[in-house]
Amino acid sequence: MTIVVCIKQVPDTAEVRINPETGTLVREGVPSIINPFDMHAIEAGLQVKERIGGTVIVITMGPPQAESALREALSMGADDAILLSDRAFAGSDTWATSFTLAKAIRKIGADLILCGKQAIDGDTAQVGPETAEFLDIPHVSYVRRIEEITATSIRVQRLMEDGYDVVESSLPALLTVVKELNEPRLPSLRGKMAAKKAVIKKWGMADISADERDVGLKGSPTQVKNIFTPEARPGRKMLEGSPEEQVLALLGELRRIECL
């Protein structure tokens, strides 16, 4: 079984702070990490391999620096890694990203594709399902448990708002996974050594036979018009004085607006 895990290198957004004076992002010293949900996808891939055999291939699309994310996945036990990197891929939205990933996955020929449910920087949760559409295969989102897998089918639990569904799908299929699925393993020392020496394949636009009209900014239907920091709520009142004075002022305000 060929298992492809799609990962993304993201800034650790929990470390990002806003400068209260300028209202801009403070990005200095923010480390790059593997998207936390993708760590669970890697672990799931390794567990499937241990259960029924196969090869785990991790792929990512990003700038050359994203190679370090692939090496980390290799150190956890992935067999192979591919970096999709090309200046032409720059500025991809979810449509162009999924299209590019699907082209690469088609070239690899996968039976099972695993993605994290969403990336913590974009939070769209769109790349998994869109990739499945381009590959014309079924997908199941928000997988919290893999109950059974054979060479031709898979049975999983899909998290819903009020519980879960047990869903069966034919293979090949794509799953997006949530954190409840598993606990990602730590890399072994041997894994780290091997990952350091591993040769990571680099594929550009020509390697996946993509057309420049379908990738990067040109292939992206959406555009970022502008970005801004949320403004302070109009009419905000900072209450003053001792704690007791503040509490009395608050109760007065709440009575005034008939909230108490």
């Binding site: 800034p11 957004t13 990002v16 806003i18 209260p20 801009t24 992002l25 990003g62 700038p63 891929f89 720059a90 500025g91 939205d93 979810t94 449509w95 999924s98 299209f99 974009g122 939070d123 769209t124 769109q126 399902p129 869109e130 559409e133 079924p138 997908h139 989102s141 899909r158 819903m160 708002e161 009020d162 519980g163 879960y164 569904d165 047990v166 869903v167 292939g219 992206s220 239907p221 555009q223 970022v224 018009k225 502008n226 970005i227 801004f228 920091t229 949320p230 302070a232 709520r233 009419g235 905000r236 009142k237 900072m238 209450l239 704690p243 503040q246 509490v247 608050l250 109760l251 709440l254």
Partner: protein, 399 residues
């Protein structure tokens, strides 16, 4: 449109570097250089004192759709077990407004459920409902939803298509966008029509929820977006509203997935949190899991529920089901009391549409005060007990 640096004009002053939220500007051989992280957000263009950063022609023109041929606003009305999800009525509220601004009609799509539910959608603001009654919609499968919705869009060409950012909407809507070769913007917190171009302005948190971005889909249709439940307000209900119900067929659509079982795991607490009119929420500033007992006392007194920030959940002080924010629940109570919550934007996007926000924090610079209606600076262990005592006094409850 793509952004480039004119290296002739660039003086290497590095002014632009900190303007980029995506780390896409780097110095190379003394000149600014734009790398693969660029999202063409143009934040840097106005910063350059030399005017060396410019937007150039290009972008997604070649595969563009003829946007003028697309008319009308559509919303996807999700149902489960025959019951329409409340987010559908919220989408009708915003959809009605967008349709009125564009002087066009509003249609709802209902796959499954009964015609009676379709009639309700009209009373909540729809002019037309496409209703597909078919057993394939008894359980949720992505493929039948994708297939039917895509073919209806191809036939009728709406300019805007919205869905709820629920597990169902977030799962199948991306496939529809992929198939239709159009853009999709997730979790919009605000939607409006650009008066000049007629394009849909889609505002959403970006960069892990640390900033907001306005997204456009100028050359492709429909412009697709999802909206989280409880972000938009419902429109007006009109018992006498009349509209058209169009029956559509879903025959011959076979999913490759099969739902074997649906298991309910409803937590009372979770339901309470989203329906509570008052929420008392605690964060890292509590310093201790015992702080939640104090918040529980205040919440109990006010008839409200207890929420928390991600930090408190990560610290193991309170279960995940209490978490409010981008990776927790979106809430919209009448009063939200944030105690010891600094206000990372991840948290703010989950609660900032609350009617009244009261923030209690030691740090006067905490970002929570930016969204607060009333801010109290001080030790929550002093302020909250005082608040409890004063409310009791006010109500004449003996100590």
């Amino acid at each position: 449109m793509p952004v480039v640096v004119d290296s002739e004009r660039c003086k290497g002053c590095e002014e632009c570097l900190s303007s980029c939220p995506f780390d896409a500007l780097v110095m190379r051989e003394g000149k600014a250089h734009i790398n693969e992280y660029c999202q063409a957000c143009v934040a840097c263009v106005s910063v350059c004192p030399e005017g060396a950063i410019i937007e150039i022609e290009g972008g997604a023109e070649e595969a563009a759709h003829d946007v003028r041929r697309y008319k009308g606003v559509w919303i996807f009305a999700e149902q489960r077990e025959g019951k329409v999800a409340s987010v559908a009525f919220e989408l009708l509220g915003i959809g009605r407004k967008l349709a009125d601004d564009l002087a066009t009609s509003l249609s709802a799509l209902l796959f499954g459920a009964s015609e009676k539910e379709a009639e309700e959608l009209i009373k909540w603001g729809a002019d037309r409902v496409f209703h597909a009654a078919h057993p394939v919609f008894e359980h949720f499968h992505d493929e039948p939803y994708v297939h039917l919705l895509s073919s209806l869009v191809k036939e009728h060409r709406p300019e805007i298509l919205l869905a709820g950012a629920t597990p169902i909407g977030r799962s199948f809507f991306p496939r529809v966008a992929a198939r239709l070769r159009t853009g999709l913007t997730a979790d919009c917190t605000s939607l409006a029509i650009d008066a000049e171009t007629g394009n849909l302005l889609q505002i959403r948190p970006a960069f892990g929820g640390n900033i907001m971005a306005t997204i456009l889909c100028p050359r492709h249709r429909p412009q697709m977006a999802t909206v989280r439940p409880r972000v938009m307000k419902r429109g007006a209900y009109d018992e006498g509203r009349r509209g058209e119900i169009v029956a559509v067929s879903a025959d011959g659509i076979q999913p490759r997935t099969k739902v074997l079982q649906s298991v309910k795991e409803v937590s009372e607490c979770m339901v309470n949190l989203q329906e509570a009119e008052i929420i008392v929420s605690g964060g890292r500033g509590l310093g201790d899991p015992k702080g939640f007992a104090l918040l529980q006392e205040l919440a109990g007194l006010l008839g409200g529920a207890v929420g928390s920030s991600r930090a408190a959940v990560d610290a193991g002080w309170i279960p995940y089901r209490h978490q409010v924010g981008q990776t927790g629940k979106t809430v919209c109570p009448k009063i939200y009391i944030a105690c010891g919550i600094s206000g990372a934007v991840q948290h703010l996007v989950g609660m900032q549409s609350s009617d009244v926000i009261i923030a209690i924090n030691k740090n006067p610079d905490a970002p929570i005060f930016n969204v607060a209606t009333y801010g109290l600076v001080g030790d929550l262990y002093e302020i909250v007990p005082l608040l409890i005592r004063k409310i009791k006094e006010h109500r004449g409850i003996a100590q």
